[in-house]
């Protein structure tokens, strides 16, 4: 199905006919994703949408190296994924900051784990905190910050490692709508500066369209790719206004018609 690229200069991420099965606690085998193929170009922003619980996050686990595919191949930059790759960054849905560390100590975690010197790490962390607007809060603990500020710390913590591939698992779903739009702007700015490739998993279709170059729509579980849409909205985008543009509404309408069947199928199945 997908062509195999030579190592070293392949696209940022390839998933080729991947299947991933889990063993449920009662000992049965459950298929989360099946016949799943996906390609993310270098510097491309791809969003993945699908009904809740369909297996969207599973794809991120496979790319990050936290889990292995049952069948098929996962490659980054043309090389098979064998473990956690230092070029990958991951922003989680729930708070994954270390609550016992201050903001700045959270941000230095990555560089220190990777053996940088203390001065270098703290210098980098301070400059990243300045970029996400939290310079004054470096000695606060996470519980003293708002949800939006904690997400900004998480972004700084991830971006300081300069990931070439950024995986995001519904990172802003716990934020209120206004904060979320601010975070979208911030993310797009960071992304365009860093030229990373992004896989952004969300259940929010408008978020996906506003941010991404391409949107993958998944089927109800076991998930497979239902359709792929290229979002031709011009960049740079102003996320706060983009949702009122006619082209945005048109795209959103088309994809929603596609997604609705899956959402309804999932709903009737879980209700049955």
């Amino acid at each position: 199905m997908a062509t195999i690229s030579p190592p070293g200069d392949g696209p940022a991420v390839e998933l080729i006919d991947v299947e991933r099965r889990f063993l449920t606690p009662d000992g049965r085998s459950m298929t989360a994703i099946r016949d799943f193929s996906m390609t993310v170009g270098r510097g491309e922003f791809v969003a993945v949408v699908g009904p809740t619980g369909c297996g969207k996050s599973t794809t991120l686990g496979l790319v990050s190296g936290l889990s292995r595919p049952t069948l098929g191949a996962v490659r980054i930059f043309g090389e098979p994924v064998t473990g956690i790759d230092p070029r990958v960054g991951f922003v989680f849905q729930t708070d994954a900051l270390f609550p016992w560390r201050t903001v700045v100590d959270n941000v230095v975690a990555g560089p220190l784990f990777r053996g940088r010197s203390k001065e270098e790490a703290y210098e980098g962390a301070r400059s990243w905190l300045k970029r996400v607007g939290l310079a004054k809060f470096e000695n606060h603990y996470p519980h003293q910050l708002s949800g939006g500020m904690r997400k900004r710390v998480a972004l700084a913590q991830t971006f300081i490692n300069e990931p070439k591939i950024l995986l995001m698992d519904e990172p802003f779903s716990a934020l209120d709508v206004q904060t979320r739009v601010v975070m979208h702007e911030e993310l797009l700015n960071l992304w365009s500066e860093q030229q990373a490739s992004v896989i952004f998993v969300t259940h929010d279709l408008e978020e996906a369209i506003a941010l991404a170059d391409r949107v993958y729509v998944l089927t109800n579980g076991p998930a497979t790719v239902k359709s792929i849409y290229t979002i031709d909205l011009p960049r740079p985008r102003v996320v706060a206004d983009i949702r009122y543009q006619p082209r945005f509404i048109e795209i959103s309408h088309t994809i929603w018609n596609d997604l609705r069947e899956e959402v309804q199928a999932g709903y009737s199945r879980s209700a049955a």
Binding site: A96, L97, P99, W100, T102, A109, F113, R114, Y141, H143
Partner: protein, 288 residues
């Protein structure tokens, strides 16, 4: 017990926030709680004293508060029949402290090791369960036989009392560590050792502290039971001697001493915990 100290601070805060009616109600409630606490203490001690004095209960068996206080005073000023009180207290404290620190350290290390290593946990869990099912105090005679009448046997008993409590909490704490946080650390580049040190141990810390609170009491139990069974010094010996001479006041006096020590240790532990856990949000409604 220690929550009492946090109460006025909480009230001060709400007063400062300017919510006058609410603060007033809270202050009144606080006084009410205090009044009841004192009333119950006075009623208990007064009732004890009175019933003993009037012969309703036999002071030979139950003693009476004034006699207990008199005995404590005598022990403190003149020493006990077995030598100075402070020496006995020190012996018991030494046994408890050594047992507590070695037991807690071993419990933490083994708990974290087994918590991090599935294979080790699967192999050893059955043995730990088996040994854990032994009531610890029955080991006292065995330890006395092996380690003699001195320090060693009491420390050993304190150690096993403390070890299993701390171990099981440390183990549980490691298992309860947040999966997302672990995944986050791994992706940020943590090696297994870095992961243990900077994520697993800190997140298990609140579990471990919860066990340390209880287990200092257990360390004292271990030392005292050991002293009962066979010793030359210690508070346990004082109780044993008092029992032998039907000195009820002496037994209660020894109990009061142990109570004070255990409360002081608990207080110190709470202070230390607050200091180490300054990253945690202030608990709301912790009051009693």
């Amino acid at each position: 017990m220690t929550d009492v100290t946090t109460l006025p601070a909480a009230i001060g805060e709400s007063l400062a926030a300017g919510e006058t009616p609410g603060a007033r109600a809270a202050r009144l409630r606080h006084y009410k709680v205090l009044a009841w606490r004192w009333a119950i203490l006075v009623a208990f001690l007064g009732g004890w004293e009175l019933t003993a004095a009037t012969g309703l209960i036999d002071p030979f068996f139950f003693s009476q508060p004034t006699a207990v206080v008199a005995r404590l005073w005598e022990w403190m000023t003149e020493g006990t029949a077995e030598g100075p009180l402070w020496f006995h207290l020190w012996v018991t404290m030494e046994e408890s402290l050594i047992g507590f620190f070695t037991g807690a350290a071993a419990g933490i290390v083994v708990g974290i090791a087994l918590g991090r290593n599935r294979m080790l946990a699967d192999v050893f869990s059955i043995y730990i369960k088996v040994i854990n099912s032994i009531p610890r105090v029955v080991l006292a005679p065995i330890f006395i036989m092996i380690f003699g009448l001195g320090l060693g046997s009491k420390v050993a008993l304190s150690f096993v009392m403390v070890f299993f409590v701390v171990f099981s909490n440390a183990f549980q704490g490691v298992r309860e560590a947040d999966r997302n946080m672990i995944a986050n650390a791994q992706i940020l580049g943590a090696s297994p050792w870095q992961l243990t040190r900077s994520v697993i141990v800190p997140s298990a810390m609140s579990w471990i502290f919860a066990s340390l609170h209880v287990s200092f009491g257990f360390a004292i139990v271990g030392a005292i039971v050991g002293e009962f069974v066979g010793s030359r010094y210690g508070i346990g010996l004082l109780i044993n001697v008092a029992k032998g001479s039907f000195d009820a006041a002496g037994m209660y006096a020894a109990i009061v001493i142990i109570m004070v020590v255990a409360l002081a240790a608990d207080w110190a532990m709470t202070r230390l915990e607050h200091k180490l856990a300054k990253w945690r949000p202030q608990p709301h409604g912790e009051q009693t």
